[in-house]
Amino acid sequence: MYDTGKILAGLVAFIVVATFPLWFTNLFGSPSARPVLELPKGEKKCVEDTEYMRHWHMNMLDQWRNEVVREGKRMYVSSDGRKFEMSLNKNCLKCHESRAKFCDRCHNYMAVDPYCWDCHVTPTGE
């Protein structure tokens, strides 16, 4: 084989450049700032536990809106038997009163743009 040295050097250089994002962040990068949410002051427990809400709140809200608007059912019975009115404005936002300090922080971090706010106005007018 001709130019073995040059080819190998070229290959190594290529791999180093191509995998730059991987090794650079692992060696020198610092983790990006995770969003810090302002939690409600009075209330300790959401309608379901935190882990579930974090992962599934969007599916839950979708299901709530269908139950309320299409089935006419407005009460949610949580897995531990507590009852809540299924209303973004009158239930969720009563505790999470600031959209900017709660909803937006995660949504911005994840670069998602839900259209809830086109119609539902928070009690603080956001």
Binding site: E48, Y52, W56, N59, Q63, R65, E67, V69, R70, E71, G72, K73, R74, M75, Y76, V77, S78, S79, K83, E85, M86, S87, N89, K90, L93, Y115, D118, C119, H120, V121, T122, P123, G125
Partner: protein, 260 residues
């Protein structure tokens, strides 16, 4: 690969099983949905409007104002883009089939309070491509699901009563009475209309227009109730007095009755 029936079934079966595997994850948390114990219930809601008493401007204005503030109705000040749930029409516009060349001018111009008729056979529901508007089978209310509306406006073409309004722009800056936060506004690009105050019925209250009109015009200005129940007040009123409905010949069977 061998395209045998046996192989096809194997692959399809594995695929279906795999897809079903994912579903329980979504439904993991115990979920029950109930209607509120305070909710007003009926087999078939209907309304009877006393035309004579609603001839008074202050009674109609009170009913419209109560509705507008309960539902964040914008006032755009542009006739072509007007959003209206309950409003006033002249008699000849509301009841074109009841007018002939002998009808006196005074009768033609008589103001009539109009709103969505919550038809038994609603044409808006028939044409909606997304089922954003639908008839609640349990009580006959013709509802709007704003989340599903794609703004095609077929329903507006289909409704013979002009009961539906399109949001040509974001209505929020035009809610002049101030946005109340316990009821959503609408967004640009959806159609809206009277929902017979489904949200008030759910917490045990009459529709906003009914309470307001009866307060200003006296009890019985608007009678609201269940016409499936023969002993309800509205059933008795409809049996005992002459009524008209808007454009009955179209076969939509409106459930808003006008007492003469």
């Amino acid at each position: 690969m061998d395209e045998s029936r046996r192989n096809f079934l194997k692959i399809t079966g594995t695929g279906v099983f795999g897809a079903l595997w994912g579903i329980p994850v979504l439904r993991a948390v115990g979920k029950a949905f109930e209607s509120s114990p305070k909710a007003l219930k009926a087999k078939r809601w209907a309304m009877a409007l006393d035309m004579k008493r609603l001839g008074r401007d202050d009674v109609r204005a009170a009913a419209a104002k109560a509705c507008n503030s309960a539902h964040n109705i914008p006032d755009l000040g542009i006739a072509e883009e007007e959003v209206k749930w309950i409003w006033t029409e002249e008699y000849e516009a509301a009841f074109p089939t009841q007018v002939d060349k002998f009808t006196p001018e005074q009768m033609r111009k008589q103001p009539v309070l109009v709103l969505c008729n919550h038809c038994d056979r609603p044409p808006c529901v028939r044409v909606c491509p997304t089922k954003a508007t639908f008839k609640r089978e349990e009580d006959g209310i013709v509802m709007m699901d704003m989340h599903r509306c794609i703004g095609c406006r077929y329903c507006m073409a289909a409704c013979p009563y002009g009961s539906r309004s399109f949001n040509w722009r974001d209505p929020k800056p035009f809610v002049r009475q101030g946005i109340r936060t316990d009821y959503p506004t609408r967004t640009k690009g959806v159609v809206e209309k009277c929902t017979l105050c489904a949200e008030r019925l759910a917490r045990g209250e009459n529709p906003a227009c009914v309470d307001a009109a009866n307060k200003v015009g006296g009890a019985g200005t608007i009678v609201f109730g269940d016409i499936a129940d023969p002993n309800s007040e509205i059933s008795r009123v409809l049996r005992s007095r002459q009524t008209v409905r808007r454009k009955p010949s179209l076969g939509t069977s409106p459930q808003v009755y006008y007492l003469l």
